[in-house]
Every structure is written in structure tokens, then in C-alpha cells.
């Protein structure tokens, strides 16, 4: 386990002792990551924001239990678990939306106003990101959590195993299946893929 730097350690101790400002300082350093993870897990900005807010409250309640661990992975674990629980709950009790499902176009927040004509390259990048997110959304929750933690948060396998409460071997298995599924899913959007990806896509990949 990587030891937190001294200043984080001091802030963390203060937060554990009930210092709200210290807790908020730790939070501001990783709230973008928390939101990104939540969004990649849920594919929905509003839901992702709710999940992060709930996770923050859970984290504040349980900050005293945080000993010898860094704040960021600990918070992200709570975020991932909260998202997983909520998505499972929604699967069990699907609700009928009054508005038709629409892709979340605000995905990548590229700094280009909607009214301005989009350069083709930027538009393609947006489409590619949307396609990747759509493929992530199709993964099982277990695979999604592992993929997001590995490829978005760049955690190592052991940290992922600790986060999702499983063995490293299971992480390897879920990750390989998740990546293969995303790869196969992206085949349907080959024109969006980077040239290097298209170059090496071969029909015999299906043999796997």
C-alpha cells in the first residue's frame, strides 16, 4: 500500500478527528475523479452526481474507520459500491420514464459551444467517446466496475480486488472479458475507431 504524503496524512488525521474543512479539502482533490468514475459506471450525469453526493455523506459518516489507507481510493470504493448498489436496485425495480431515453450528450464536455459548427475531428471524437461509453454501459456491473477502476482510475489489480471485494484472479478474468466485450462492441462503430485500431481489426479475432 502506498503511503500518503505528509500533508495528506495530516489533513487526513484532522478529517478523522472531525475537522470538516480537512474532509472537504481531501474531497476537493478527488471529486472530479469520483464524478468521472460514477459517470462511467452509470452513463448518466445526474445519477452520477447523486451517487457521488451520497458516497460523500457515507464517507463523512465513516471517516473514523479510515486507518492506514489513502482517502482517494477509499472514497472511490464507496462511489463504485454505491453506483453498483443503485444500478442493481434499478434493475430489480425498473421504473418507467416519462421521457424517452436519450444519450447523455454532455458526456465529454469538450469546450466547444453547441451553437458553433463542430470541426469534424472534434465531432468524431465525441462520437467515439459516446460509443465507448455505450459499450461500457452494456457490460455487467461486475465487469464494468473492474474496467472503470483499471482503465479510468488506473488502479492495479490488487487495489481493484480490494475495492470490489474479490480476488486478483477474478479481477483478471473480469477485466479480460470486459475489454474483449468492449472491443467487440466497438466493432459496430469501426468508422469511429482510431486508425491504429482499425488497422489491426481482423476477422479471425472472432475465433477467440
Amino acid at each position: 500500500m502506498v503511503s500518503p504524503p505528509d500533508d495528506e496524512l495530516m489533513t487526513l488525521r484532522a478529517a478523522i478527528d472531525g475537522d470538516l474543512d480537512a474532509f472537504n479539502l481531501l474531497l476537493t482533490r478527488c471529486q472530479d475523479a469520483a464524478f468521472s468514475i460514477a459517470y462511467r459506471m452509470t452513463g448518466d450525469r445526474a445519477l452520477a452526481a447523486d451517487m457521488v453526493q451520497e458516497a460523500v455523506i457515507t464517507a463523512y459518516r465513516g471517516i473514523r474507520t479510515l486507518r492506514g489507507e489513502r482517502f482517494r481510493p477509499w472514497l472511490l470504493r464507496i462511489v463504485v459500491n454505491r453506483c453498483t448498489d443503485e444500478l442493481r436496485r434499478r434493475r430489480r425495480r425498473p421504473t418507467v420514464s416519462l421521457t424517452p431515453d436519450q444519450p447523455d450528450s454532455s458526456d465529454d464536455e469538450l469546450p466547444i459551444p453547441d451553437s458553433a459548427p463542430l470541426p469534424e475531428e472534434v465531432a468524431q471524437t465525441r462520437e467515439l467517446h459516446a460509443a465507448i461509453q455505450a459499450c461500457i454501459d452494456r457490460l455487467s456491473l461486475d465487469q464494468r466496475a473492474v474496467l472503470v477502476l483499471c482503465d479510468i482510475e488506473e488502479m492495479d489489480y490488487q487495489a481493484i480486488a480490494d475495492t470490489v471485494g474479490t480476488q486478483v484472479g477474478t479481477v483478471k478474468s473480469r477485466l479480460s472479458r470486459a475489454r474483449a466485450a468492449v472491443r467487440d462492441c466497438l466493432q459496430s462503430s469501426r468508422e469511429l475507431l482510431p486508425a491504429v485500431y482499425r488497422l489491426y481489426r481482423q476477422d479471425d479475432d472472432r475465433n477467440s
Binding site: 465529454d108 479480460s176 472491443r183 466497438l186 477467440s208
Partner: protein
């Protein structure tokens, strides 16, 4: 032929999670296996595409205000509701299991004696009449204590069956006092009041008229276990007692169902 094991090896290779020996072995295979190389390339491209997804900016600060922090540290209402409902269910079960014997009047006396300290201090016998009068005439709990004989608790104990539901109303009172604990949290207070209301309705009690009646309402899960409130003007005769016993059993069964449902719903919500 690419196996699942090969895929896991390739992913670990990409993530630099192989030890030196595993890596060397895979390098040797890659040098001769074009299909394996193609898999590696496509997986690498997939990982590159996913990792290139931009970090999003939080749409709002998720930092907590002092008020949010205070609420976060307070016991969540759902947990309180679950505890209260579970306690109600336990009370009802205990009430039914101990229902054999126990004349309704005595049971009621104990219910009241456990439900409120003021009523507990009253003597038995005509106690019910006095209790009801005290409630109806809006006599405060304090004055009821003042009017009661000192030896009243002993009398109450000797007149009552051995068990009884003494623990039950005490629990109910604790639960009620949890709900009644001072709180700045308006939302929670309102929600708590909502959860108490069904019990009040089930008890079939009238409008709140005094502090005493308010306490009785909060102890209503226990009151339900009794026969309800008999008429103050007549103490029960033998047939009346039997009828009351049947009514009491029915009420207890109904209350078990309600209590169990409440507990289930609250736990599920929590």
C-alpha cells in the same frame, strides 16, 4: 486458438502485471503467433481508447456544509424507523406469546404502568377508571403522580400476572422517546411523526388531549395488545372477560401482521 487464459495473460501484459518469467514466455509466443499478436494489438487499442476518455469535471462541489455534516452524523431516520418497527414487531410477538392467562384488566394496568411513569404510580383495582379519567380530564402526568399513593407500584405488581408486558411498553416508550428527542432536523421530525401516525390510528385512540394521552399514543403498539379501552363505567364480568380475551387475541394477530410489515418495509427502505 485464443483461450480465456491467453486473454488474461495479454491483458496482464498490457497492464504490466506479469512477472519477468511470464513476460518472457509470452514474448516468445508473440514472436511466433500472429493471431496472439493481433489479439494483443486490438486489446491495446481498446485500452488506449478507454483510457483516452477525458476526466470529467464535477458539475458542482460535493463538499459538505456544516449543516449537511451535522445531518450526516445524526442517526439516519431510516435506521430509526427500522429499529422502531422491528421493536414493534418484537413487542407484538412477545405480547402474543405471553397472552395466555392474564386478565385483560391486569394486562392493561401493566401496559399503562410501563407506558407512563405517572400512570404506573396509580393503584390497581379501579385504576383503569382513574387512568381514563385522568386522560380525559386532561390531568397532567405530574399531577397524577402527586395524587397517587406511595405504595401504588407494589400494589400494581401484586395484582398483575407474573409476566406480563412490562418490558414491552418500556421498549415502546424508549422508542417513542427516541422519536421525541429534540432535533433541529425538521424533515426528520416530520417523517418520524408520519411513522408514528399509523400506530396511533391502529390503536383507535381519540384526539390528543393532554400530555398523558400523547404518551399513551406513543405507546400504542403495546396498547393494541390489550383489549383496547374498556368502558370506564363498568368493570368486566366473566363473559366480558372471555370476549375481551378473544378480541385481544384477534387484535394481537392483526398487530403482528402490521408490525411485521412495518419492520419489513422499513428495513427494505433502509
Amino acid at each position: 486458438m485464443i483461450t480465456q487464459t491467453d486473454l488474461e495473460l495479454l491483458n496482464a501484459y498490457i497492464d504490466d502485471q506479469l512477472d519477468a518469467d511470464q513476460r518472457a514466455a509470452l514474448d516468445a509466443r508473440l514472436a511466433t503467433d500472429s493471431e496472439l499478436r493481433a489479439q494483443l494489438t486490438s486489446l491495446r487499442a481498446t485500452v488506449a481508447a478507454i483510457t483516452a476518455l477525458p476526466m470529467l469535471t464535477a458539475p458542482r462541489p460535493f463538499t459538505l456544509t456544516r449543516e449537511q455534516a451535522r445531518r450526516a452524523r445524526a442517526l439516519p431516520f431510516r435506521q430509526l424507523a427500522a429499529l422502531a418497527s422491528a421493536a414493534a414487531a418484537v413487542l407484538v410477538v412477545v405480547g402474543v406469546l405471553t397472552a395466555r392467562g392474564g386478565a385483560p384488566v391486569s394486562v392493561n394496568t401493566n401496559v399503562f404502568s410501563g407506558g407512563t411513569r405517572a400512570i404506573a404510580a396509580l393503584p390497581t383495582g379501579t385504576v383503569l377508571l382513574e387512568v381514563l379519567e385522568a386522560v380525559d380530564t386532561e390531568v397532567s402526568a405530574d399531577s397524577a403522580v402527586a395524587a397517587a399513593p406511595v405504595e401504588a407500584p407494589t400494589l400494581a405488581k401484586s395484582a398483575a400476572p407474573p409476566f406480563t408486558q412490562l418490558p414491552a411498553p418500556t421498549l415502546a416508550q424508549d422508542t417513542a422517546s427516541m422519536f421525541a428527542a429534540p432535533s433541529d432536523d425538521d424533515a426528520n421530525t416530520e417523517a418520524m411523526a408520519d411513522s408514528i401516525m399509523p400506530a396511533q390510528n391502529s390503536a383507535g385512540l381519540g384526539e390528543a388531549q393532554s400530555e398523558s394521552s400523547a404518551v399513551m399514543r406513543q405507546a400504542s403498539p403495546s396498547v393494541i395488545m390489550g383489549t383496547g379501552l374498556p368502558s370506564p363505567s363498568s368493570l368486566p364480568s366473566a363473559p366480558r372477560v372471555r370476549r375481551d380475551a378473544v378480541d385481544m387475541l384477534l387484535l394481537r394477530i392483526v398487530t403482528i401482521v402490521i408490525g411485521a410489515l412495518m419492520a419489513l418495509l422499513s428495513l427494505r427502505a433502509a
